[in-house]
Amino acid sequence: MLSPGAQSLRRGLLTYGPLLTALVVEIIAFELIGRRQGNPGFASFNIMMLVLNQSAIYGVMAVGMTFIIITGGIDLSVGSLVALCGVLSALAVKWGGDPVALWIVVGWGIALIAGTASGAIAGLFITRLAIPPFIVTLALMSSLRGLGNLMTDGKPVSPLPDAYAWLGRYQLGGTIPVTVLIFVVVLVVGIVLLHYTRFGRNVLAIGGNEEVARLSGIPIARVKLWVYMFGGFLTGIAGIMLASKLGSGSPKVGVADELAVIAAVVIGGTSLSGGRGSILGTFVGLIVVSVLNSGLTWIGVETFGQQVTLGLVILAAVLLDRLKELA
């Protein structure tokens, strides 16, 4: 009989073992190939911080998506919503003028409200009208993309004052980007919310078996509504981060982001049929893909080849996960 500590360590290793192995193998492989090409240094703090920085925006969306997928739902609208929220935050600054700092904060507020509202609309249609999440969010994906384009006539909102790009580009002490800090905070909030609160247990219970959850008195509609609103809110944050990083609010960004985000969540071990998943898993899944992307660029694989490799690796990662279940 193992002690509780050893048991939880064992469970952790079983859960994240394959993904962590894949991560380490990736980093070592890219470092070795890079050295052979006379380009060492992939396995360094700076590159890993770059990877984190590049994953931050996806990561914030992926935390919300993890909750949604655990309830057995899905959100295809995040790619369009991230663009719309970015556009809104930029428009506020453009129309507001002086003082810039005030209007930047107002823009953040508007973006967050819009994101939450979109999540609320999705949640209400799904819970009150009993329309499948896939359909509701597919429709939102199309509508929100159209709205973003209508607001800006299809053109990016720019130029914007330099201060607008602070959030997306500033690095604390010259090493730690603000976006990474936000990502870490969102991760921690997500972990606490999912694994240490009644709300999180309700979310897991609904995904596990909705009928049983209903019979045990969980307010299903309300929990689901909150989950979609939380997802929309986080997408609002991601939209602000993205627009700030780009220095403009473009209605064209984020196309197919929903698929990348969902892929990260599922690679991280969250089941698409609901009831099972973790925020930490999503994080590791995201980093595995992100390291792969950066690594392929590092060793000079062109974009077309990257798509093929990425597709294959996603399959391999999930296949590995299945083998673990069989063992």
Binding site: L76, A130, I131, L138, S143, G305
Partner: protein
């Protein structure tokens, strides 16, 4: 009667929509416009028919758009290579078409095997295939469009006689419809979607049927890619982007349930037509593309809600 209308509501919605638009707009009811609507629906309808087979089993196929692009690119490259090698045009076109559909069949079979034998969720397998097939299309074509096709290639897409793609689509939908309602394979797909466990226990070859569904979806996707290439007389590696979502939306507007076990090819065709008709009407009224994106979203939800509502009223679904 209520029950009949509820069961076939997509067809009635389509008919009502067409009548209303035809009464309102002279341009809409012109022969040229109706021809163009029908021709443009053909590829989406063929894709939707394939995706429907998969949706019936409770699965999903996100790869059809990319597979269509890959099929079109390989078909056109094969034709050009064969013509350059001195093969007669007609034979080259035929072989090229086979190559395009064949690569689709290969991709689909691979999807099916990974999903059943590898036990990976369909969403992930086909998402991976979506990236991989798009990447392959870009790699083999070097990222360039392929054009300068022989004249014989234009037949399939209606470049010679306008109704060819429409007849091809109708035949495919009809064959799918008969197969689904009259054959053991068709009933197996509905049974699997209803309950995989029950289907297995009643002796249906569950994995075999599922692999066949994905393989056929791939085959039809490859063929749709060939049709698209033929209609536009070029193969673009970036073609058919996001078509997977249009095809899925067509199935769902046609009343298919993403949980599986419910839906039909004729209704999916109606779903595809509803979307094209709406887009076409927006274009005729000079409604900007951006508004169309908003409208399509709103209408998808409205139609699915209406469909659910009618069915519930007629007692076809209970929950």
């Amino acid at each position: 009667m209520t029950r009949f209308i509820a069961k076939h509501s997509p067809l009635f919605i389509l008919a009502a929509l067409c009548l209303a638009l035809a009464a309102y707009s002279e341009v809409f009811r012109s022969t040229a416009n109706l021809q163009s609507v029908a021709t443009r629906t053909s590829e989406i309808a063929v894709l939707a028919t394939g995706v429907l087979l998969v949706i019936l089993t409770g699965g999903i196929d996100l790869s059809v758009g990319s597979v269509a692009a890959l099929g079109g690119v390989l078909c056109c490259m094969a034709i050009k290579a064969l013509v350059a090698a001195g093969v007669p045009d007609v034979l080259a076109v035929f072989l090229g078409g086979l190559a395009g559909a064949g690569v689709g069949l290969g991709c689909g079979t691979l999807n099916g095997v990974l999903i059943t034998t590898g036990r990976i969720p369909p969403f992930i397998v086909t998402l991976g295939m979506m990236m991989a097939a798009r990447g392959m299309a870009l790699i083999v074509s070097g990222g360039n469009n392929i054009f300068g096709m022989p004249d014989a290639f234009l037949w399939l897409g209606g470049g010679k006689v306008w109704w060819v793609p429409i007849v091809v689509t109708v035949v495919i939908v009809a064959v799918a419809s008969v197969t689904l309602s009259q054959t053991r394979f068709g009933r197996a797909l509905y049974a699997i979607g209803g309950s995989l466990q029950a289907a297995r226990l009643s002796g249906i070859s569950v994995n075999g049927s599922r692999v066949a569904a994905y393989a056929l979806s791939g085959l039809l996707a490859g063929f749709a890619g060939v049709m698209l290439a033929s209609r536009t007389s070029l193969a673009a590696p970036a073609a058919a982007e996001m078509y997977e979502l249009e095809a899925i939306a067509a199935c769902v507007i046609g009343g298919a349930s993403l949980m599986g076990g419910e839906g039909g090819p004729v209704a999916a065709l109606a779903g595809a037509l509803i979307m094209t008709v709406l887009r076409n009407f927006c274009n005729l009224q000079n409604i900007p593309v951006y508004w169309q994106q908003v409208l399509v979203g709103v209408l998808v939800v409205a139609l699915v809600y209406y469909d659910n509502y009618r069915k519930r009223k007629a007692g076809l679904i209970t929950d």
